[in-house]
């Protein structure tokens, strides 16, 4: 059998299950107009409104000390949350993918918890635990540690809502890959650490990067949980999303949209990064497949 045969077979199968041309155009048209209406149009409006009063006003809005402080805080929270989730996600996916233990299903459910809880509720949980009237409130007050209405609270809330991203990307992949390659490395005399760096990590690197990108995007865009624990102290505990809200509520819509456009830009950058990661992973796979196809031609 030549390698082109299955391909031809697939094409015929695709024809057999496909719809007529008109139906296809209609479906694609609906999907595209939906995208345009709900995604592209708002994005365009964000940038248009941001630049409504010209570039000078735009620059003034984003170089305002309060705005700069908000940007710094958002980047700080992201810079702390992402590496922590990276480590946690890898550890959790490693444990779930490679070992059999009691309570595995429970762990998977727990990892998904932040997806199912409203961010506002998770913010409130932190209030209950660390707030002045909360469980540790008195003790924290005594030792002069501020978590709620301060930077640590914002970082904690950001970590909580982004917990699932890295783990969720890695778990299915690691489960599918199994532990055989690691076992092989160990029988060849590699240490656990060496096995992790030379076998496990290279096998999941694209999925890991993809998870990190998603996690970063979510960390920067988080609003609900952060809003509850922040206290909205300008220049101190305001993140970019909160800053946008304040500006908008003060009828400074051009300034609000200017900061929002920065968030949108960050999102676009992440989207591009995500696209290129996906593209590279696919590219690698395709190259491998092409080479093996040439191989079977030779035989």
């Amino acid at each position: 059998m030549t390698p082109s045969e299955p391909v031809r077979g697939r094409a015929i199968a695709a024809q057999a299950v496909t719809e007529s041309r008109a139906v296809r155009f209609l479906l694609i048209g609906i999907a595209l107009s939906f995208l345009a209406l709900f995604l592209l149009l708002p994005l365009a409006i964000v940038f248009a409104t941001a630049l409504q009063k010209g570039w000078i006003a735009y620059w003034a809005a984003i170089s305002d000390p309060m705005a700069r402080s908000a940007i710094r805080l958002t980047l700080l929270a992201t810079a702390i949350a992402v590496p922590l989730n990276l480590v946690f996600g890898l550890a959790a996916a490693w444990a779930i993918g490679k070992f059999q233990f009691r309570g595995k299903q429970l762990l998977i459910t727990l990892i998904d918890l932040p997806f199912s809880i409203s961010p506002v509720v998770s913010g409130l949980i932190y209030m209950l635990v660390f707030g002045l009237q909360g469980w540790f409130g008195a003790w924290l007050e005594e030792h002069d540690i501020r978590i709620i209405f301060a930077v640590p609270g914002i970082v904690l809330a950001t970590i909580f809502v982004t917990v699932p991203f890295v783990a969720r990307e890695l778990i299915p992949l690691m489960q599918a890959q199994g532990a055989e390659e690691e076992e092989a490395a160990i029988t060849l005399g590699a240490s656990g650490w060496r096995t992790f760096w030379s076998i496990t990590l290279p096998n999941v690197k694209w999925a890991l990067l993809y998870g990190v990108i998603l996690c970063a995007a979510r960390a920067m865009g988080e609003f609900g949980a952060v809003s509850v624990v922040s206290g909205h102290i300008r220049g101190l505990t305001n993140t970019m999303t909160l800053h946008v809200e304040i500006l908008y509520n003060e009828y400074q819509s051009a300034a609000a949209f200017a900061v929002a456009s920065l968030l949108a830009l960050l999102a676009l950058v992440t989207l591009a990064a995500r696209g290129s990661v996906e593209w590279r992973a696919r590219q690698q796979l395709r190259a491998a497949l092409r080479r093996s196809e040439e191989e079977s031609h030779e035989h």
């Binding site: 092989a184 005399g189 590699a190 030379s198 096998n203 191989e295």
Partner: protein, 350 residues
């Protein structure tokens, strides 16, 4: 190096994978662990490699207790059923891995290159250095896995269903090749298989395992010609069962009317299809009558299915084409069957 396995027991929860297993493997021997799936043979192999730990019992490698040794210290080469090649590494790097991860006396880069090239030549894969596992055929991957396991100069080679994932033709080629390779390098090797033909063809000795227990250990001829238990007899090939009884110091196959009741020791006679003779006349021995219900030619042999006239039981006979031609029997014909070589086991008491 010789291996001694003493009273090994392993449980997974309530499932007993191995029950009091003892086994000796001589240096340079090629031993097959043969049994149906789930019989514990792979568990035994994994315990030998150090990837799994026994609940009780011990393993001695060259007289040394292996319990104190880590997987790496045992110097065991393990070839996985699905090869477990490192997918992101080239063939060269796969084979070199065991040398590169050495913490002490790691060979120089030139030395590693020299040794990997030599191993790739040994497994007939010279020039494949830069390929990735995804670009290789199943048989080639299997040979890379073997070269990788040999790179660490193991004292023992363990292979888990080494040909299980290959198609029939490649499988046959590769197992002959493995046998020749073993004769060349004389490394103590143990492989797991559920394929009887493979075990009998390749190994010096066969260990037949069932339900976590060793049923029989012996050379391929010994286990085939003198099976120690009904299980071994059935597992090694097709078989016909005849109820039998002791008759004045002689064993006689019982017809329908004469059930083994009343006799002290009800017996079962086992005969392989090729040990069943067919003829048109009853002959000197009491022969059973049967009707031919199906005739099928499979390559050089002819399989004939018969139904006994007395009990209605199905009997299978295997004739050479020549014998079939001279006899010229047809479907529906009534003939006599003579099991010319039977093995007797006592029937289990109810």
């Amino acid at each position: 190096m010789n291996i001694e396995v003493r009273h090994l027991t392993k449980k997974f929860g309530s499932f007993t994978a191995l029950k009091d297993v003892s086994l000796d493997v001589a240096p340079g021997e090629l031993v097959a662990l043969l049994g149906p799936s789930g019989c514990g043979k792979t568990t035994l192999l994994r315990i030998l490699s150090g990837l799994e730990f026994p609940d009780s019992g011990s393993i001695l490698f060259g007289g040394e207790d292996a319990a104190a040794q880590t997987v790496g210290d045992r110097r065991v080469g393990f070839v996985f059923q699905h090869y477990a090649l490192f997918r992101h590494m080239t063939v060269f790097e796969n084979v070199a891995f065991g040398l590169r991860v050495r913490r002490e006396n790691r060979p120089s880069n030139e030395e590693i290159r020299r040794r990997v090239e030599a191993l790739l030549a040994l497994v007939k894969l010279d020039g494949f250095d830069d390929r990735y596992p995804a670009q290789l055929s199943g048989g080639q991957r299997q040979r890379v896995a073997l070269a990788r396991a040999l790179a660490v100069e193991p004292r023992v080679l363990l292979l888990d269903e080494p040909f299980g994932a290959l198609d029939a033709k490649v499988r046959k080629e590769l197992r002959r090749w493995l046998r020749r390779l073993h004769d060349e390098i004389r490394l103590t090797s143990i492989f797991v298989t559920h394929d009887v033909e493979e075990a009998l063809e390749v190994s010096d000795r066969v260990v037949i395992i069932n339900n976590g227990r060793i049923e029989q250990i012996g050379t391929p001829d010994e286990v085939y010609d003198h099976p120690a238990s009904p299980f071994v007899y059935r597992f090694l090939g097709n078989v016909n069962l005849f109820h039998a009884r002791m008759d004045q110091g002689r064993i006689a196959i019982a017809g329908a009317g004469e059930s083994p009741e009343g006799t002290e020791h009800p017996l079962t006679a086992y005969a392989r299809p090729h040990e069943v003779e067919l003829s048109r006349d009853p002959g000197p021995d009491p022969a059973l009558e049967a009707d031919i219900i199906h005739i099928q030619t499979v390559g050089p042999t002819v399989r004939i299915e018969l139904r006994r006239c007395d009990t209605g039981e199905i009997v299978e006979a295997e004739l050479t084409r020549e014998r079939y031609r001279t006899m010229a029997c047809k479907t529906g014909e009534r003939v006599h069957i003579h099991p010319n070589r039977v093995r007797i086991f006592e029937e289990p008491k109810n």
